[in-house]
């Protein structure tokens, strides 16, 4: 799998409250409605203009804070292709895998990528192709690959229970 | 003269239409009248889509005690902003009536109108004479414009412009 998209770049410690504000956690319940609030308190430009296939690039500890899965869902339904960061907060990392949203830890690539760059991610080769060069990232562990291939945790569980 | 003759479709409501039915309390925090229009009658059973379907120039027709309940002026603003030019009801709750007058918003008292007008009827309303013609049935009714002080306030377009004019007169 290969994706190419425009980069939205952010700093360190971007927390779940600015990705998906707490005030919406019980008033917005449809997945399809969550996309319009994505990153509302961090970057209104993104909220307005992010397009399917765009890629988020961030510093360390992306998604720290709450366990709210909407902070993943809102980006997933918005069509964000992947998140590349120097590191992810633990619960966010799990939630992203569970939703089948590709996340990549690649500190060198993050330093090299500028906002609005167009970059390509080759998941099979484990490569990120940027205007400043190509960076590699380690492939996901096997059980994680299984999750992503199945499209997330729920389809994966259905499969393992023999319901698919 | 001609601009005071209005034509439009009638939306007929019952007796004791309370302010929660006209404009629900969950939207009270809104302060901009323009935002209020979209919530008009959202809680009125069977007329939930009023705000979407009513056209500017349509009339609200109602029975007795229209606007009973809360003092919220929102319940006047929302209809005014929606372009409802006049309300035709058999009687009005006190605060609602005041709020309408204070905004220069015409509210006519029309006895037994809910017996003479059906939902969707075409009406012609003469705001100067208070004559109301049901174009669908041909029936003619009379709406009472209000008493002198209210008329005067209405003529100025509402309480605040009226007060300003009075103050200007006093200064002269």
């Amino acid at each position: 799998m290969k994706i190419t998209g425009k980069v939205w770049k952010y700093g360190d410690d971007v927390n779940t409250d600015v990705i998906f504000p707490g005030k919406y956690t019980y008033t917005v319940s449809e997945r399809s409605e969550m996309g319009q609030y994505a990153l509302e308190d961090l970057d209104p430009e993104f909220t307005k203009n992010a397009k399917p296939g765009d890629i988020i690039v961030a510093g360390k500890n992306w998604g720290c804070g709450s366990s709210r899965e909407q902070a993943v869902t809102c980006l997933k339904v918005r069509g964000i292709g992947a998140i590349i960061a120097k590191g992810f907060a633990r619960i966010y990392y799990r939630n992203a895998l569970n939703e089948g949203l590709p996340i990549i830890v690649a500190p060198d690539a993050v330093d090299a990528i500028e906002p609005n760059d167009e970059i390509t991610i080759d998941f099979d080769k484990g490569e990120i192709i940027t205007p400043k060069g190509t960076f590699s990232f380690p492939p996901f562990p096997e059980f994680v690959r299984g999750l992503i291939e199945d499209g997330g945790l729920i389809p994966h569980v259905r499969k393992s229970l023999g319901l698919e | 003269m001609a601009e005071n003759i209005l034509r439009g479709r009638a939306w007929v409501f019952g007796d004791d239409v309370d302010t929660d039915l006209i404009y629900h309390n969950k939207y009270l925090a809104i302060t901009d009248p323009k935002e209020m229009a979209q919530y008009s009658f959202e809680y009125y059973p069977g007329k939930e889509n009023f705000a979407k379907e009513a056209k500017p120039g349509d009339f609200v027709v109602a029975g007795h005690n229209f606007g009973c309940g809360s003092s919220r002026e929102h319940a006047v603003y929302c209809l005014k902003e929606l372009g409802i030019p006049v309300i035709l009801a058999e009687s009005y709750a006190r605060i609602y009536y005041r709020n309408a007058v204070n905004n220069g918003y015409p509210v006519l008292v029309v006895p037994e109108i809910t017996k003479k007008v059906k939902d969707g009827d075409e009406l012609e309303v003469n705001l100067d004479t208070g004559e109301i013609k049901n174009l669908t049935t041909g029936e003619v009714m009379h709406g009472d414009a209000v008493t002198d002080l209210e008329k005067e306030i209405m003529a100025y377009g509402g309480l605040i412009p009226y007060l300003k004019a009075q103050a200007a007169k006093e200064q002269k």
């Binding site: 600015v18 504000p21 707490g22 956690t25 019980y26 008033t27 509302e40 500890n61 907060a89 | -």
Partner: protein
């Protein structure tokens, strides 16, 4: 070679000898959800399993917006009540005077127990480490999957050992310690790790203080945070443990840690986390005098009877200068505070005493800020927009600092009034 708490507890749950880095699959003993049990139940239905794996392992506690303030919240609660009935879930805390903030209930009502593996669909689930449990927050999909299968995978985490010595000086508390630690190691300083609190100062601390420490483990990225299951813990659970499957497990003396830190309480002073990150630490005297508009004494971090007592000491006979919202962590705490006369002190001081729940902590309910307003809060997060408005400012502090600031109308050092 010795083992860490995480290696031991996950090894026991997996039924095998495990090492850091290994991935294990375990059956969690309790799965806690709050108001988000409703959306989770919807995901659960999508899986296609009719019944949860074991209803006795599932706990629901309504706390995020109680009693329901809007149609949406009311419908949400209704979905939960119906699911509870359908699945035969006994451990359910509805909108009544038996409940409170979920993490408080889990500890107070005997769910948090030494050596248990527990998960919750809330990031502050790590609080139960105060009782010696291995507990961690997970997302909605994962919780739904766990209900269906009774299983969850974990990577056995690296561990961090924080040794604490000495004793608190007047006006200083566990909140000041944890804010300082997070300020030192930053928001990702313990990412993915199991944080163990060791040392004589921890044994001297009340369970309430330990809960404050473990609760904020997530704010430095930790998977879980834990204190030793000592006499105080065993004493607290002896009459109300919800299961006898627990076991007092603790790290070996020669366990290997990825990182070790040491703190001496005697050197500590009252501190705050400045807007907009929890690791933006400053000693309180650096920000003293900053005007505030609201003070909030509540949340799963600092609203236990011990916290209320500390605040009441400062508020007694005084009047607050700004709106001050007091939300006890549970109805049990509320009642005890009433019995001890604390609620009267708060009322006389002009505070608002709300019904137990999460209150304004995550921008859902009582006490949302207006643009440009500043709040000093005993909660755990000061992220931009956290209390409902992105143009507002939140300082995190201890109950004593919050009380002193409420009286002054500006951030104040509690040592000045004590």
């Amino acid at each position: 070679m010795g083992k860490t708490f995480a290696e031991k507890v996950l090894g026991k749950a997996a039924g095998e000898d495990v090492k850091t880095g290994q991935v294990v699959t375990v059956e969690p003993h309790f799965c806690m959800s709050h108001d988000n049990a409703a959306p989770i139940s919807k995901i659960f239905k999508k899986i296609g399993v009719e019944k949860v794996w074991n209803p006795d392992h599932i706990v629901f506690i309504l706390d995020h917006a109680v009693p329901a303030p809007t149609d949406k919240h009311a419908e949400n609660h209704k979905i939960i009540r119906e699911f509870v009935k359908e699945q035969g879930i006994k451990h359910f805390y509805d909108v009544n005077s038996k409940g409170g903030v979920c993490h408080q209930i889990m500890c107070q009502e005997g769910y948090a127990l030494p050596g248990l593996v527990m998960v919750g669909s809330d990031s502050h689930t790590c609080t139960y480490g105060a009782y010696g449990a291995f507990s961690t927050g997970i997302g909605r999909s994962e919780m739904a999957a766990t209900w269906a299968t009774g299983k969850i995978w974990f990577r056995v985490p690296e561990s961090m050992k924080i040794t604490v010595k000495g004793s608190f000086k007047k006006g200083v508390s566990a909140k000041d310690l944890i804010l300082k630690i997070i300020g030192d190691i930053k928001a990702d300083g313990a990412d993915y790790m199991s944080v163990e609190f060791h040392g004589p100062a921890i044994s001297q601390m009340s369970l309430a203080e330990r809960m404050t420490l473990c609760n904020m483990g997530i704010e430095m990225g930790a998977k879980n945070a834990v204190c030793p299951p000592d006499e105080k813990v065993l004493d607290a659970i002896k009459d109300n443990a919800k299961t006898d499957k627990w076991e007092a497990i603790w790290a070996d003396d020669d366990a290997v840690y990825a990182k070790e830190l040491e703190y001496n309480l005697g050197e500590l002073e009252p501190g705050v986390a400045k807007p907009h990150t929890v690791d933006n630490y400053a000693p309180v005297n650096e920000v003293a005098g900053t005007p505030i508009h609201q003070a909030f004494l509540g949340s799963c971090t600092n609203a236990r009877i011990e916290d209320l007592r500390e605040a009441a000491k400062i508020l007694k006979g005084k009047e607050v200068a700004v709106r001050t919202i007091v939300i006890p962590a549970s109805w049990k705490v509320y009642r005890q505070a009433m019995e001890e006369g604390l609620l009267n002190i708060f009322l006389d001081a002009g505070c608002i005493i709300n019904n137990p729940g999460c209150g304004p902590c995550m921008g859902n309910h009582e006490g949302i800020l207006a643009p440009g307003e500043t709040c000093i809060s005993t909660a755990n997060r000061n992220f931009k927009g956290r209390m409902g408005n992105k143009e507002s400012f939140i300082y995190l502090a201890s109950p004593m600092t919050v009380a002193a600031s409420a009286v002054k109308g500006a951030i104040a050092d509690p040592r000045e009034v004590l």
